[in-house]
Point group: C2
Chain length 218, copies 2
Amino acid sequence: MVNQKNSLYLCCCKDIDYMAKSKGTKNLDTSTEEKIIQAASKVFTQKGYVATRTRDIAEEAGINLALLNYYFRSKEKLFQLIMAEKLQLLFSVILPIVNNDDLTLDEKIETLVENYINLLVDNPDLPLFVLGEIKANPEGFKDRLQVRKLLQNSSFVRQLRERKPDVEPVHFIVSLLGMTVFPFIAKQVLFADDNTFKMQMEERKVLIAKWAKIMLET
Amino acid sequence: MVNQKNSLYLCCCKDIDYMAKSKGTKNLDTSTEEKIIQAASKVFTQKGYVATRTRDIAEEAGINLALLNYYFRSKEKLFQLIMAEKLQLLFSVILPIVNNDDLTLDEKIETLVENYINLLVDNPDLPLFVLGEIKANPEGFKDRLQVRKLLQNSSFVRQLRERKPDVEPVHFIVSLLGMTVFPFIAKQVLFADDNTFKMQMEERKVLIAKWAKIMLET
DNA sequence: AAATATTTTAATCAAATGATTAAAATATCA
DNA sequence: TGATATTTTAATCATTTGATTAAAATATTT
C-alpha cells in the first residue's frame, strides 16, 4: 500500500540534509527525489509557474507523473521549494557583501558586481523567473521579501549616505542592479549568440564597477 | 444567423481606423470591440498570456465569453493584437530618437530617458510583460524584433562609437536601458508605495541622464 | 525464502478553460 | 412595419491538466 504521509516532503527548506532521509544508504532514493528537484528547477525557472505542467517536470526528470505527486504532494509545494532555493541563491550573494563592515564602498561595489554576474551567467533565467513570480503573486512574498528593510540597515547604504548625502541610496542601488541584471532579462532582445553574451558579461564586470564608482564621485 | 467572417478582426495592426468599421455611425459597436481590446490589454499585460483566461478578459470588458471569440476568433489572435500594440508603443519612443541626426549624443540621452520614463510611468507593466512573452516564445518574435539591427545602423550607435571607440556601444545602451527600465521590473521588490515610486522616477530622469553622460566622459 | 515496507506505474477523475453552437435580442434598412 | 442583418447570450463541447487510486514491481527485513 502506498503511504504518502511517510516519506513525504513537507518542509520547503532546501538546506535539509537529503542524505539523512529514512534509514538506509539507498541513494537511488534520494536520487529520484533530487532528479525531480533538478527537473522542477529547470522547467519552473525556464517557463514560470503557470506555464509549467507537472507532466513537463516528470518527463524532464524521467519519471512518471504520479511519482511527482507522491514525493511532493502538489505542484504548489514543489514550486515553493524551488522558489525558496532561488531566493536564497540571490540573497546569498547580496547579503554577505552589503553587510560586511570590513569592505570599503568601492570594494563592495566590485565584489557585488563580480559575484552577481558570476551567479547570473550560471543562472541566466533567475531574474525574470523570480521577478515574474513575485509580480504574479505579490502577497505570497510579502513576508519573505524585506529587501528594503535589509538594505536600509546595511553598512552599504550607510556608506552610500556618507559618500553622497544628497542622493537617495535607492537610486544608486537600482542603477547598479539595473546595469548588472538587466542584460540577463533582455538577453533575447539585445544580444546575439550565447558565447558573445558570456564574453560581454565578463567585460561588464569591470565596466559596471568603473561606472558605478564615477557615479559616486560627481 | 451569426456570420463570423464578416465583422471579424483579421488584422493585427492597431493603427486601423476603428471608426471606419462597417457602415453606420453606431459607436456602441466599436465601443464593445474597444472595450474588449482595453480589457485584453489590461489583463494580458498584468498577468501574461498563459495566466490570463479569456473569461477574465470578458469579465473585465463586461461582456460574455462567447462574444470575445466572436470578435477576435481566439485568445491567440487577440493577444497578437495587443502585443503588436505594445511593441509599437515601446519602439515609437526609441526609434525616432536614436535615428534623429539633429540631436547630439547628450540630447539623445536626455530625451530618451525623459520619454521612456514617462512612457513607463503610464505603463509600468510593459517591460516585464513584453520581455516575459519574448522569453516564453522567442520564435514568435524572431522576425518582428530586429532591435540589434535597428540600433546598429542608428546615429546613436555611430555617435557612441565616435565618443568612446574602446567600449562596445551595447554596453552603454544596456546600462542606460537597465538604469531606466529595471526599477519598473523590480518595482515590487525595491520600492514601497506607488506615490514615492512615481516621485522617485521623476528624480531618476535627471540622475540617469547625468550619470550616463559622465559614463561617456571617462 | 517469506513477510513487510517502499517505490513505481497505468488508468482514471474532476476541475478549469478555450472554443463552438444555436437561439434570442437588437439594430438597420426597404 | 416587416424583412434582413448584426449583436449578444446561455448552454455545451472537447481538451488540458493537477491530482488520485489501486495494483504491480522492487527493495528491505526477519
